[in-house]
Symmetry: C2
Amino acid sequence: MQKKYLMSPGPTQVPLRASLAFTDPIIHHRTQEYKEIFRQVNENLKYLFCTSNDVLTFTSSGTGAMEAAVVNLLSKGDKALVVRGGKFGERWSEICEVYGVEVTNIDVEWGCAVEPGLIEEALKKDPSIKAVFTTLCETSTGVVNDIKRIGEIVAPFPTILVVDAISGLGAQEMPTDQWKVDVCVSGSQKGLMIPPGLAFASVSEKAWKLAESSDLPKYYLSMIKARKGLSKDQTAFTPAVSLVCALNETLKMMREEGLGNILARHERLAKACRAGVTALGLELFAKSPANNCTAIKVPEGLDGKVIKSKFSKDYGITIAGGQGHIEGKIFRISHLGYADTFDVVMAISCLEMVLSDSGRDVEFGKGVAAAQEILKKGEV
Amino acid sequence: MQKKYLMSPGPTQVPLRASLAFTDPIIHHRTQEYKEIFRQVNENLKYLFCTSNDVLTFTSSGTGAMEAAVVNLLSKGDKALVVRGGKFGERWSEICEVYGVEVTNIDVEWGCAVEPGLIEEALKKDPSIKAVFTTLCETSTGVVNDIKRIGEIVAPFPTILVVDAISGLGAQEMPTDQWKVDVCVSGSQKGLMIPPGLAFASVSEKAWKLAESSDLPKYYLSMIKARKGLSKDQTAFTPAVSLVCALNETLKMMREEGLGNILARHERLAKACRAGVTALGLELFAKSPANNCTAIKVPEGLDGKVIKSKFSKDYGITIAGGQGHIEGKIFRISHLGYADTFDVVMAISCLEMVLSDSGRDVEFGKGVAAAQEILKKGEV
């Protein structure tokens, strides 16, 4: 018998309260009963996004909502500025290019946050840029970007700011309206604690103006259709009903905990994880580390794929490896969503054992102790 | 206390065996464990679709897979022939038009099946038509089209045949390869007995050839990306993991029952439902009635919306009303997916009581008796 633990940055663990919602008999999505559930979901999504704007729900992975942001807000030949500092930044570029949007990339070294000044420079040089696409937490590198500063920079321009907060929302501060983010995109299987299958996008008035003139083709991902549905507590197309019902439970849990407490919990877990890792002599990959997952450089002489495999096969913990050109060079431990004190304790103690199993000289408990100093009651 | 029964043509009832799969701890979609589940799912989807071709899975409603069929197989300015005999036929036209595909519609009176000869005529007149889009069961009208004959007609042309079998698959005969259907589209919340959120498309070699030259923009719904993922027992983007795990259970149930038995069961239920309805003096709306749901004309002097509401409020049974211009004029009882003998008995007995409650002179048990004659053991 080996218990299994999921510590990947998505899908994340699903609380039993949400899992049990799946066993309720399925209801029809055009009934009053469903509308009331979806109304509650939307109210709580606004709370979580910190927005007074509509938050649209799509039945898709997060990528579907990213594509929705591109095809609904831009027109053929429009210019877009993309921050490309990891796999998910690259995805913005790829989507834009597929639709004939003219992309300027700000290429950021993987592991670093974007220098907001570069965005300012690019917009001043070309104020006809219609949209800036960036990422709150670049999950592939464990980096958090300074969205607050980027929002201040973009707001005075006619340009809209679109942020991929798929893995960041509910883990990292993201006050959408206050930070002047026009479109905030998220997904269900990260901080929102339910399985994958739903994606979200908040849309500001500034962004809706672009939507009205957008000429890129869309049907299933139409934001205008989604908004029309939302006005009747509905989606444009048949939604993933069971996921919406489960989401209603996790959003209620999040309101009960309170957004401030949720963010503080993630900050504490992230700090503890980093402290544990560095106490073991390992190095963080991210120069500006995010609170949803910790990216760790693979020590010289070891292979990241083997470390990931040992976590899983020998100890039952699923973590993430590196993507793209850093595959094998980093591994990532997530503390995102339904995660608490002992998830970090387990992860760090597992890391100690895996390093020892890999022939490294490890003082057992040293990393755990460093984490405990931050995890103990009373610490923030 | 009022028990609730779902008899709409999607979402349909979910067997407990599938619901319980949702309470298993969520697994990561890049693990060997998930790949093995998805491999089984794909093997069983091929069985159900009766195809040796790949069946692609998208996390979306059925409409997402319909859009995938258009944007992956056609190019701008291509010609398409669309059978438009209900709301879902109309959807093919709408999607094609959004993407600049030149559409010729064959408008069929709602409630009637398309006359296959009209397709032959249109293709002979213009052999440059790239694709014919039609519907197996047009859920909005309760009609089944003669896909077998349409397949024979289209096959000799360079044209591909795309069939929306979203509500029909697993209820109505649909041997994809044998009937020369190039793309068969389906969804999870109908005959496949799980909640909405997954959509499917089988793709023939003839269709893949068109995919290679297609210039319409796509990213999330890319079939080429989906096929690349499938070659590694994966999807291109994060799938709705929990729905895939539940689908694995219902597909196993379907293999245990056997496709022939499943289709015979749906045929028996549909015949019994029709017999019950007509024994009560009501008229069927569909001239060529499908086996997934029965569309019934609202008797003179009554309102379909009221009938639907009485089914639900007074007796706990969710049925469907009419859509578009036939709203209020028909109501639809589904016997699709996880449905058996007593679902039909309940529906017909409820219909008797609702008619009586509406002031009609009804002989209680008369409709039920007519249904029983077909439902009793030994009858087909």
